[in-house]
Symmetry: C2
Subunit: 338 residues, 2 copies
DNA sequence: ATGAAAGCGCTAACAC
DNA sequence: GTGTTAGCGCTTTCAT
């Protein structure tokens, strides 16, 4: 009596109650068509009366498969990742898969922990939207289980991946600034350790080079790409003599751009004196004091495509890894189009 | 050869390779202190060489317990829930538990699906931040497994729960409006089907009654409490003759308040003509054109307290259910304090 | 259509 | 300290 029951109701209990064998209960649950209608009804009633729920551990152990996939995310505070999560969830649901989310909170150790957890849980597969540069996740990605990487472009020899073309995004951002008349562009980004940031920077450079105009390009590196870093960068810019200030700023993220806007908007006219473009299309961009022009990332599509790819890999169909690269999109708002 | 291996490496493989028995490998993993140092080293090396990862299904099935808890969330787009998730995650980590998140996307059917999934997965326990009124989740909450409800106040006879005092929040909001001089207050909220919304409304009423002043109170009900609903409500208000317009609006959510501000801010002076207060302290509130005064919910604390409660319930210590009710906090910004 | 029985990979006694 | 072994609750042949 003082012993905690390991499990209240087992399949054998149901079988006994329904007056059938365990195998029949299993069939009733997994292959209803193989069971006589009356038996089925009896089993279902017993299940209801007993409040039976299958033990997924025993199920997976015996059956050797799972219909749950895992998603390891970097940063739920960033709405881009929330979009990815919802896209992945929608895709998974549609394929009859359930998806579990783990949020590594920008912490590599947690990311590892969750990846290991999913591995031990023998989930059918994993979607990974990683924290680090693709190079750093190479080890992870060599795991023997199905895994598709999101938000990084991987060598298709290795894995499927779905990412957004960051170089193109940087290009579009700078091109837009140039087209709206900017001649001194500042690119503000974080460390090149993060692939996307580096790629965006390269896109900016290419746009400047391609423009065929005399464009001055200043590159400012900040510790991270969040709002406070933007404020810092803005202060930096304000300290410069007016003729050394950029007339257009491409920020590596919306949060960065938001910080810039917060500090700059009552000091200079945006976009007349300084135009600002962000990156990500976060809610923050839309709801800023000055709505921020941005490069939108199709997060929902990324998640969805990832789920599709994973399902294909899971289905046992002949499958070759693919690298899907989606195009970002320019969303013009007030910060560049006063 | 054409057969897919069920599982590449088992504990028996490791045992063979290390020249020990399976039990010893198990001990090396679970009770390293019971194993000789040299044996331990041999086992660990074998594990490394073989790339072995424990099968968590077999583990849980044999061991009868799990160290993973689940969190079922309503809406990851709402930063309040992200805060809860992170608080819960931090709390869980600290107790050596891992936490898996499922996002029901405001869909009750999905919520059920995930709850069932967690049940079948025999997770140690569940944290539920539900979609519906507490009454509607009563059935769910009667599951025999440890579960603590977040964001709803439950009868402690039933379950542990952690929630924020919404009535107090509504009270604080209206009191603030009254103190800053408003005499005609509009409360804009959604259907009373959602407990928090109804409670906030009641708090507003009580503040008006308690004020000892002649306050006119108009209650406007909108279909939901998201940004578009706020815009709709704002249009409604603008159509009224000026003397029928409120001079203070308490919105049931920040998104609602944001919609109001978006439409109102270039038609009337905020807060001089109309003061606006939101609810939640979403990022949206801080980053609105006019930063929005709001009632902050301690989401991180809610998640953390939930994890703590669940751990206590899991630990087998004598445990009685408790209802924890946290206080919301007024955050004054420009929309009421021009 | 249903029953019987052999595992799935591991943990936890218990014996040595 | 280490090996042996009996299950954990289920799926899945294979008989019947």
């Amino acid at each position: 009596m003082s012993d905690v029951a390991r499990q209240s109701v087992t399949m054998d209990d149901v079988a006994r109650r329904a007056g059938v064998s365990r195998g029949t209960v299993s069939n009733a649950l997994n292959h209803p068509d193989r069971v006589a209608a009356t038996t089925l009804a009896a089993v279902r009633q017993a299940i209801g009366e007993l409040g039976f729920a299958r033990n997924d551990h025993a199920r997976s152990l015996a059956g050797g498969r799972s219909t749950t996939i895992g998603l390891v995310l970097t940063d739920l505070e960033n709405s881009y990742f929330v979009d990815i999560a919802q896209g992945a969830e929608d895709g998974a649901m549609q394929h009859g898969l359930t998806i579990l989310i783990a949020n590594s909170q920008r912490d590599e150790a947690r990311q590892r922990t969750y990846l290991d957890l999913f591995e031990e849980a023998r989930l059918a597969g994993t979607l990974l939207a990683p924290h680090t540069a693709s190079q750093a996740i190479a080890g992870t990605v060599q795991s023997s289980r199905p895994l598709v990487a999101l938000n990084v472009a991987l060598d298709p020899a290795l894995r499927c991946s779905v990412s957004v073309d960051n170089e193109l995004g940087g290009y579009l951002a700078a091109q837009h600034l140039i087209e709206t008349g900017c001649r001194h562009i500042a690119y503000i980004g974080g460390s090149d350790r993060l692939d996307p940031i580096r790629e965006r920077r390269q896109g900016v450079r290419r746009a400047v080079a391609d423009s065929g105009r005399q464009i001055r390009l200043t590159e400012i590196t900040v510790p991270a790409v969040r709002t406070p870093d933007g404020r810092t960068a803005a202060l930096d810019i304000l300290q410069r003599p007016p003729d050394a200030r950029p007339d257009g700023i491409a920020a590596a993220s919306d949060l960065l751009a938001l910080g810039l806007v917060q500090v700059l908007h009552d000091k200079v006219r945006i976009p007349e004196e300084i135009a600002i473009i962000g990156y990500d299309d976060n809610a923050a961009a839309r709801e800023s004091i000055v709505p921020i022009t941005t490069i939108a990332q199709p997060g929902h599509e990324v998640g969805r495509a990832g789920a599709d790819l994973l399902r294909e890999e899971l289905s046992g169909q002949p499958h070759t890894h693919r690298q899907i690269r989606l195009a970002p999109q320019l969303r013009i708002r007030q910060s560049t189009a006063g």
